[in-house]
Symmetry: C2
Subunit: 362 residues, 2 copies
Amino acid sequence: MEPPPPAVAAVVASPEPEEGDLVTNKRVILKRYVTGCPRVEDMEVVSGTARLAVTPGSPAVVVKNLYLSCDTYMRTRMRRRAAPSFVPNYVPGEVLENCAVSKVVASGHPDFKPGDLLWGVTGWEEYTLITDPRFCHKISYPEFPLSYYTGVLGVPGITAYAGLFQVAKAKKGEYVFVSAASGAVGQIVGQLAKLIGCYVVGSAGSDEKVNLLKNKLGYHDAFNYKKELDLNAALKRCFPDGIDVYFENVGGAMLDAVLRNMRQYGRIAVCGQVSQYNLERPDGAPDLFLLVAKSLRMEGFLASDYAGGYRRFEEEMARYLREGKVVYVEDVAEGIEAAPAALVGLFAGRNVGKQVVALARE
Amino acid sequence: MEPPPPAVAAVVASPEPEEGDLVTNKRVILKRYVTGCPRVEDMEVVSGTARLAVTPGSPAVVVKNLYLSCDTYMRTRMRRRAAPSFVPNYVPGEVLENCAVSKVVASGHPDFKPGDLLWGVTGWEEYTLITDPRFCHKISYPEFPLSYYTGVLGVPGITAYAGLFQVAKAKKGEYVFVSAASGAVGQIVGQLAKLIGCYVVGSAGSDEKVNLLKNKLGYHDAFNYKKELDLNAALKRCFPDGIDVYFENVGGAMLDAVLRNMRQYGRIAVCGQVSQYNLERPDGAPDLFLLVAKSLRMEGFLASDYAGGYRRFEEEMARYLREGKVVYVEDVAEGIEAAPAALVGLFAGRNVGKQVVALARE
């Protein structure tokens, strides 16, 4: 899960300008609040229009959205009950919003001009009027696939980096476990941990993903959690001396098993808990007394907590990518009509690597 | 809960010396592994003998135990299944061990001489041969009630101090919540937090304890959790702006309610989870995604992690006691025969303040 920067609420809410080209604008709206596993029918692709201009004097920008990011945390915004506070819930009948890569088509803001490539919070639609582009970042390295700015060079990247180094404070020689290890964040965590000399094991939900972890993403070992009868035994097999750092993406039974296998003074960076998002009440009751018994630290975080370090991170990660020290695997769906299914597919583990929806290449 | 320093395993296991006075030695042994709530019948007070001398050349000491400490964490050592690693389980037929205040009656160790007052890990018995007195501390301030070294000047004291300041990093002006707030550790946490200018609320299990919290221990507010239909509502009432620091002693439903009421960047110092110790499987499934949503840190710790700071702590706490800035409430049971019931009583909340068993005054 890769939470966006503090939400730009209602990015499309301001009055439309009266000038400028009017174009059709397909949009993904939330049709109804979701209970249980999200379904394609919970969303709807509708047609609207967008004006490709900003009201004179306003600091807004209009962007053409190129690549939408599909993130499991979006599920937590689809429920009726209070959202867990860092972002507002989606509203039935209104467009979804999340991070994306976009191109500026009109701008009243001094920092942005038509043609600029950005990433930041926008709508799940073809064009978005961003009234407050404070959370838009210009893309510094357009030589990489632009979609990487929904992933390794965007929120998932800084999430992996900050979670591993600033939250968990992983050090050379430590034993690191990553769940959802081939996902948007996990695949980066594993590679970064290996780069600094950790022993890294990942779990994933298919043999294909396990193969990817071992043979492309450089994990020392990996297992398919769906094929393990006993997660505790699987972790003991992979970590006979225990785990120093757990990068937590899933929660539930896996977290319970991990706690039993943590070493004294271990750290758990809590990035997400995808196994819990479709439940009305959390399941699993991990033995949290183990936090005491082994002096463990468990710390949740959001990428936005580390936004101040983004440019330094971007530069470092761009270098790793250029040098081939980090690779990135994406799963790209084509066209806005495919977006609801791409999002829903995350919960069945259908994506292999970071799930992106390509609306346009430029 | 106040875990002792790393256990001195089998403090009474070494061969007895052949010289020296032989005296009767009543001891509390574990009769059988415990399931569910511990009962007096799970322990037995038996009579043995002790030799009041050490084998020449050995660095052992023999102590007369004056005040035994009753601590809820002892329950976690009474089960058959693997202990949660920081201390070994008790063994049926063998004497219990825990922290106590003792007087040296014979010594082969250069640092200790007969008459010295100590606190540290010893047996639940009248006399103990401590083969390795590494975890014995000389008492610097015998002008206070000696029993305070099982409490405010001993492990509960440094647990409260380290948990509040080093783990939770409480700061002036913050909102602090303490569960089991009149217990051995809780009563100190609340007073220390108030001393540095926090707003402090405690929960306890009887109106008598709530009264104690408000009128003797200086808590700004307190509630009887057994009388609250909805812990979440109780916390919202006491903390309309949320909680910055939670000093966690109980776990279960309280932890769940606290997580909902934590403020962004809040910290939870996990000292114990007494509601869980009598269960075979943990109950309650707190919504740990709230750690992510609010960037919360939850950190377990043991007093032994902070043992290096003990002397400085002892000096500071002695000053607070002398100046009346910290007061301490104890519940003293008399005689070793009363020890099993005193320990069991902790789980019914029968104690008011720190539960101690006085075996002898000097």
